[in-house]
């Protein structure tokens, strides 16, 4: 890929350093704290899974926190997102209640989907999170309809639609971006590009360097950004937001990052080397953002670590509480299928 992602050395780097002065301090703090919450939340969920308290499977976004936080940080509270199976980051960044979220992982009645959805299908409709789809690419056509409703309602709101690199090989990606572009819908398409679709590296499933190239087929802007640089993501998505909000139509943002964990709980990582994984751990978006903040003297090490610890405690508390919640009852499930 043309975008080179630097290793995090002692000096933190961002291609959008200027945002450190332009963005309010609370905003920067909010971003760092959300990134830490995502990391701690997923580590906790993994731990609960290993202890057999969470079942099914799980898709962790550890290493990709800058993409979800950097993009959602650009939104207004009333804006919307729709996302995919690797969606814990988006859910937390969009402001999910960690306890209600963890309760869903644990299949409890008080979880976001009352235990019906699980970790792969968290939706918080009132919170503007219109849900995670487990069918690769399956949320993208739905995103077209959400954005269409926003347009027909003359709304100021916009929608961020998330999917992975592998999803861009699905026909639904193509039909949806074409339709959204033709109708100039208020949506930003964001590819959480972790370079693999399960075991398949992007280079094995497509014959192009950058996924953002595909924007050309729809006559929309496409940009590949360093997805480990939360400020760079913020800057690219904000520009796309403005385009969407002003009625000029969608954009395609390709956030280049890497997934540290296996694809899901059944992954034996046979398709990549331990060394590759290790190299990417040295590009940790969280450590990197911390360094950027400290090196630019926006925050002290103490401030940064306070935010980090606050995130950790919030996650621990959420898990503890969620574990006390009751399971749903299997009675009358058939009555839930259809709306009255």
């Amino acid at each position: 890929m043309t975008v080179v992602i630097p290793e995090v050395d002692e000096v933190g780097t961002s291609s959008s350093q200027h945002l450190l002065v332009e963005l309010p301090h609370e905003k920067l703090a909010w971003m760092l704290q959300r990134m830490c919450e995502i990391r701690y939340f997923e580590e906790k969920a993994e731990d609960l899974y290993i202890r057999g308290l969470v079942h099914g499977t799980m898709h962790l976004s550890i290493g990709q926190e800058a993409g979800s936080v950097g993009s959602i940080a650009t939104l207004r509270p009333e804006d919307l997102i729709i996302h995919h199976h690797r969606g814990h980051g988006h859910t937390i960044a969009k402001g999910a209640n960690l306890t209600t979220m963890m309760a869903e992982f644990l299949g409890r009645e008080s979880g976001y989907c009352r235990g019906r959805g699980g970790s792969m299908h968290i939706a918080d409709i009132p919170g503007g999170n219109l849900g995670a789809t487990g069918v690769v690419g399956g949320g993208i056509p739905t995103a077209v309809g959400i954005a269409l409703a926003l347009q027909m309602h003359r709304s100021e709101q916009i929608l961020l639609s998330y999917f992975g690199d592998g999803a861009t090989n699905e026909g639904e990606f193509h039909e949806s971006l074409n339709m959204a572009s033709t109708w100039k819908l208020p949506v930003v398409f964001i590819c959480d590009n972790n370079q693999y679709g399960m075991s398949m590296h992007v280079s094995k499933v497509m014959n192009i360097e950058n996924i953002s190239t595909r924007a050309a087929s729809y006559g929309i802007p496409g940009k590949t950004v360093d997805g480990n640089d939360v400020l760079a993501v913020y800057e690219a998505v904000l520009e796309a937001d403005e385009r969407a909000r002003s009625g000029e139509g969608p954009s395609l943002i390709d956030c280049l990052s890497y997934r540290w964990r296996g694809h899901s709980k059944s992954d034996r990582n046979l398709y990549r080397t331990a060394q590759e994984i290790d190299e990417w751990k040295h590009k940790c978006p969280i450590r990197r953002f911390k360094n950027v903040l400290v090196d630019a003297a926006v925050m002290t090490t103490d401030e940064v670590e306070t935010l980090d610890q606050a995130a950790k405690m919030a996650v621990d508390r959420a898990a503890e509480e969620a574990l006390t919640f009751p399971e749903p009852s299997p009675e009358n499930m058939e009555d839930e299928v259809y709306a009255p």
């Binding site: 979880g111 939706a123 739905t142 077209v144 409703a149 027909m152 033709t182 839930e336 299928v337």
Partner: protein, 333 residues
């Protein structure tokens, strides 16, 4: 319903009237599909609607059935009431993922915290010489998908009342329109009215045998019944109208009365919706009233052929219903 406002119009006009009246009544209702605007729809259903409602609410799309279904699903999730037209039911095979994994499941999967009020209008069936890929009747699939309702009107009156009910329903409703019924004329009130889903109708009363038929098979069954009346065989024709949810009572009551039942549909016999109907009857108290085995009449297990003669032979015609009903009426006597 005051009769002076009732006129004879076609099934196609009845569908259009339902759309127009609902779009006038509720600005959240809109029509989306291929060539529904300037072209007026492949079968002319939306002819003239563009002029009244404009391009935004009579929305022409690219040829992208997955995105069309997604556009309807997403808009419905946002509280609109989209009516999606697929040009031929056969092309729902491209919308399947959106309809089955998104539209049908989001409500339950997300804990009952959203609803998807949308209608999928699907011209179905054979008889137009359009061959294997433009003639299918795929209702059986969708009946097996919890979260979607399936409606298949057989008359102009039912088409209007059921479509209005489908549009007002808060769930995805697959609305089948048989191409050969579009030209069928019948009395339809001008005013807007709803026929509740899950209400079967006895289209003809009879003592000797029940024919359960829907869509195009209803007029054929009624014609067959007239022919058999001349032979002294008195046939009752029951039209479920909505396949899911199904009004089992009306069907079972009729079978309890006649003691004989013939099920007719156009889709291939094997795995068709007739199996569900037969099972519902065989599991019910009607079982004890049956004087003969349950009989099904379905399409041949073939793709629809192009040649007129072959195409006709591939699905039950009036004479096939006559033959099957006559045989069943005698059976075990």
């Amino acid at each position: 319903m005051t009769t002076q406002t009732t006129r004879e119009i076609t099934y196609l006009e009845a569908v259009r009237e339902a759309l127009v009246q609902e779009m006038r009544a509720d600005k959240e209702v809109f029509l989306i599909g291929e060539d529904v605007g300037t072209y007026g729809g492949a079968f002319g259903v939306s002819k003239g609607m563009l002029e009244e409602f404009g391009h935004e609410r009579v929305r022409d799309t690219p040829i992208s059935e997955a995105a069309i279904a997604g556009a309807a699903t997403g808009a419905a999730l946002m509280g609109m009431r989209p009516v999606m037209e697929v040009m031929f039911m056969d092309f729902l095979t491209i919308s399947t993922n959106q309809l089955v994994n998104q539209a049908a499941k989001m409500r339950f999967m997300f804990g009952g915290k959203c609803s998807i009020p949308m209608v999928i209008r699907a011209p179905s069936g054979s008889g137009t010489g359009a061959a294997a890929q433009h003639s299918q009747s795929l209702e059986a699939w969708f009946v097996n998908v919890p979260g979607i309702k399936v409606v298949a009107p057989s008359s102009p009156y039912d088409a209007k009342g059921l479509l209005i009910a489908a549009i007002r329903d808060n769930n995805p409703v697959l609305f089948m329109e048989h191409k050969l019924l579009y030209r069928l004329k019948g009395p339809v009130p001008e005013e807007s009215y709803c026929i509740p889903l899950q209400s079967a109708e006895v289209k003809r009363e009879g003592r000797d045998l029940t024919i359960v038929a829907y869509s195009i098979m209803v007029p054929r069954a009624l014609e067959a019944a007239e022919k058999l009346a001349a032979e002294g065989i008195d046939i009752e024709v029951v039209d479920p109208r909505s396949l899911n949810p199904l009004d089992e009572e009306t069907i079972i009551r009729s079978v309890c009365k006649t003691g004989r039942v013939l099920i007719a549909h156009e889709a291939p016999l094997t795995g068709g919706f007739g199996g569900e109907l037969a099972a519902v009857i065989a599991e019910s108290e009607a079982f004890d009233y049956l004087d003969a085995p349950i009989r099904r009449l379905g399409g041949l297990n073939v793709p629809i052929p192009y040649n007129r003669t072959l195409e006709r032979a591939a699905v039950p015609q009036v004479e096939d219903i006559v033959t099957a009903a006559r045989a069943l009426a005698q059976e075990g006597k």
